[in-house]
């Protein structure tokens, strides 16, 4: 299987390393050359320097015919546009896009985009832990009466 990862920060690089370790053919694109360092010593895949909006670069990185594209640069809007280009222009079967802003994430998910929103996940989990704690405390109090 072949994957393209756009954006090699903490998230992108870790996804790329995991797929690489599982035997995937992975290409990574990042604006900064230093980002290669995040991929570690055992990295076997491709690394290209450039911007995800650059369609030529995506082509060099093998977007055509890729099975999956993961878009996780540090810019929400860049991710939104690059994800749509991968899906609609290059017809990649699976495109997953990270969007940090929960409101934009929800809107584009409604438009049919496959979106991961870490901020929303954090909000849900933090709220859930508080509510779970409150429930447990309430139950204890009830039992103590």
């Amino acid at each position: 299987m072949r994957a393209l990862v756009v954006g090699c920060g903490r998230v992108g690089s870790s996804v790329a390393r995991r797929l690489d370790a599982l035997g995937w053919d992975v290409a990574v694109v990042d604006e900064k050359e230093e980002a290669l360092g995040r991929l570690g010593e055992s990295w076997r895949g491709t690394f290209l320097v450039g911007h995800g909006m650059d369609a030529k670069l995506l082509e060099q990185a093998g977007v055509e015919g890729a099975d999956a594209v993961v878009v996780s640069t540090n810019g929400d809007n860049t991710n939104i546009v690059v994800g749509q280009v991968a899906k609609q222009r290059f017809e990649v079967p699976l495109v997953v896009v990270r969007i940090l802003d929960p409101i934009r994430a929800q809107f584009y998910a409604q438009q049919g985009m496959k979106v991961v929103c870490p901020t929303q996940t954090a909000i849900d989990q933090l709220t859930d832990s508080v509510l779970t704690f409150a429930d447990a405390a309430g139950a204890l109090e009830e039992a103590g009466r």
Binding site: D76, N77, R89, F107
Partner: protein
């Protein structure tokens, strides 16, 4: 008309000034604090501070009414595309005009249906070609939605159309000669208009008819 402008650089603030002068209602959103303050001094409450790709900022600026037109002219093409999509799909804004900063991104705007677009590079190139003509069709105006294009071409002495009237030209179905500029004066072209060396010919055509039009007019 009510217009919402995203981006308060030279382009955005210039458009704001013009629209206001024509009596329109306008709100402009600017993200950079220094720019916002300068604009606020001049335009007061017509300027909103914030990131125009954040939905709550757009809502604070009145996008829910919705505006008749959203003008996305930030310096960031990704932002202009997202603003255009959100305006159209979520707030049902009927018209979006967007700026293309890097001409290589034009394809992304077209793919995602954001437009009409304006690109300084594109306009300057068209001007350069108009001022320093090469012997070919010079694209002057592209009406993307209407699927039409206006081109200009200078006629040389040994071109096949020189000395012929327009009705005798083998113009393709999807092309018409609109006018002829001769000695600095333009005349509307009719069937009997004769083309001569030195004429500047304006033609309108459907995209894809360029080769056929070239063949009818110029020697290449």
């Amino acid at each position: 008309m009510y217009a919402l402008i995203a981006g308060g650089g030279k382009v955005g603030s210039g458009v704001l000034r013009r629209l206001l002068r024509h009596g329109h209602e306008v709100t402009l959103i600017e993200q950079r604090h220094d720019r916002f303050e300068r604009l606020e001094d001049e335009f007061e409450h017509q300027v909103v501070h914030g990131d125009a790709t954040e939905l709550y900022v757009l809502e604070r600026a009145g996008i829910e009414r919705p505006p008749d037109v959203v003008i996305a002219v930030t310096g960031d093409d990704e932002d202009n595309i997202v603003i255009g999509q959100v305006a159209r799909e979520r707030y049902h804004v009927p018209k979006v005009v967007a700026r293309v900063n890097d001409p290589r991104n034009q394809k992304h705007f077209d793919l995602l249906g954001i437009g009409p677009t304006v690109s300084a590079t594109q306009s300057i190139m068209a001007l350069v070609e108009h001022e320093v003509p090469e012997h070919d069709l010079v694209p002057l105006l592209e009406l993307r939605n209407e699927n039409l294009e206006i081109v200009e071409v200078q006629i040389d002495r040994d071109d096949p159309c020189a000395g012929k009237t327009i009705e005798r030209l083998r113009l393709p179905e999807g092309a018409r000669v609109i006018s002829v500029v001769r000695d600095g004066r333009a005349v509307i072209a009719g069937d009997g208009t004769e083309l001569r060396a030195g004429d500047q010919v304006l033609a309108i055509l459907e995209p894809g008819q360029e080769d056929a039009l070239r063949k009818a007019l110029i020697k290449r």
